[in-house]
Amino acid sequence: MSPDPHAPNRFEGLAAEHVMGLLEGEEARRAERLEQEDPGFAAAVERWRLRFGELDATAPAHAPPPDLLARISATLDAAEPEAPPQPESAPARAARPAPLAALWRSLGFWRATGLAGAAASLLLVIGIAFGPLGRLPQPQMVAVLIGPQGEPAALVNAFADGTADLIPLRTIAVPEGRVLEVWTLWDPARGPVSIGLSNEARRIRLDLKNLPRTAPNQLFEITLEPQGGSPIGRPTGPILMKGTTSVAL
């Protein structure tokens, strides 16, 4: 029964606000715990869900994009127990239920990445400009792709003639039957475009010929995909690294 029999309204109000999504912090945790542990509270919650469920039924139905079911299936496939072992480069992701989405959303991860990445980019750009690499054709744009631990993992160089290449900065364990797929996001309305596939971390030329000239702040990323590349033309696997372009001085 109610943990606070002197305040049935308080109990009922907590259940209602829990269903509405209005609770925060300690109150939200308390409601979640009560829902699991207290059958009376769980029943009050269910009653409120049934009452307000009528409002969900008023939402105008909206057809999902045709590939949404395939994306759901791909996420479930990616986490099947018999799936190939996760690469060593992604230990944190291996344990997460929705690797792609979870990593995208991990604010702490990207904060750390941003700080480490900024420092690493600076060093690398200096290295490119003044070190031995400086004798190669001068790239116009450089992107340092950053891995999950905030470490620089690859470089993308985009040259004045419209070509580009990717240079890995560390090895990547690619499971059997999987490939590395390189993506860029030039136009958010079009979505990410596949520009390269590789079975291993090695220097590869990127296929940018069907895209406009690489611009500053253009996103590049590498995901782990099934053999032959993503079946649905957009990233489905975990993101191994990503970064955006800067102008090479």
Partner: protein, 192 residues
């Protein structure tokens, strides 16, 4: 447009589709059961998520994540404790609200948002008008004072927080909390 036949709000509760039995099949690892659930509910679920998240890409992500969770956690669904439909919509609302609030996006992720695809903001009263004329929820909501009814609808339908509601109505936070609390209790009495 391949809008399926979900014409009226009442159709969302299609009598022919047994969500609880479908969840039991999902718990046994039957992916075709998940596909049937998707066919039956994804349009409506995306509609619910769009009212909360506004942007199509985020709403689709909420639906994606919800179906993944529904399949993985189907064994936890207990038909003795509630209906299958309320269970899947609770998962959806929870995902959508978490995306809306907790998980503030980085600029990187915003790069993936197509521009100009925000769902049109619908007035809170539109949801009220679509409620069945004969339904008790509608009658009981209509008995609330207009601003309080609007606050309840904005909270449930669009996912506004107490703080956002207080800002929108120009009242102190504590006042908004007590508006909501009292409105919910009078709804309960009316619906009982």
């Amino acid at each position: 447009m391949e809008q399926r036949t979900h014409e009226s709000g009442a159709a969302a509760g299609e009598a022919g589709f047994d969500v609880a039995a479908t969840l039991a099949a999902c718990a046994g690892g039957d992916r075709t059961a998940l596909h049937r659930l998707y066919e039956a509910e994804a349009d409506r679920m995306l509609g619910v998520a769009r009212r909360i998240l506004k942007r199509d890409a985020l709403a689709e992500e909420a639906v994606h994540d919800s179906f993944v969770l529904i399949f993985r956690q189907a064994a936890r669904f207990d038909p003795a404790r509630g209906s299958g439909r309320t269970w899947i919509y609770a998962i959806l609302r929870n995902r959508a609200l978490n995306i809306l609030r907790g998980e503030k996006r980085t600029d990187f992720v915003d790069d993936y948002e197509p521009f100009g695809l925000e769902a049109e903001d619908e007035s809170p009263e539109a949801a009220l008008v679509r409620l069945s004329e004969s339904g008790r929820l509608r009658a009981c909501l209509e008995r609330l004072e207009a601003p309080r009814r609007t606050a309840i609808l904005l909270a449930y339908v669009n996912g506004l927080t107490h703080g956002e509601l207080a800002g929108r109505f120009g009242v102190p936070l504590g006042t908004m909390k007590s508006w909501i609390r009292r409105s919910l209790l009078s709804l309960r009495e009316c619906l009982a």
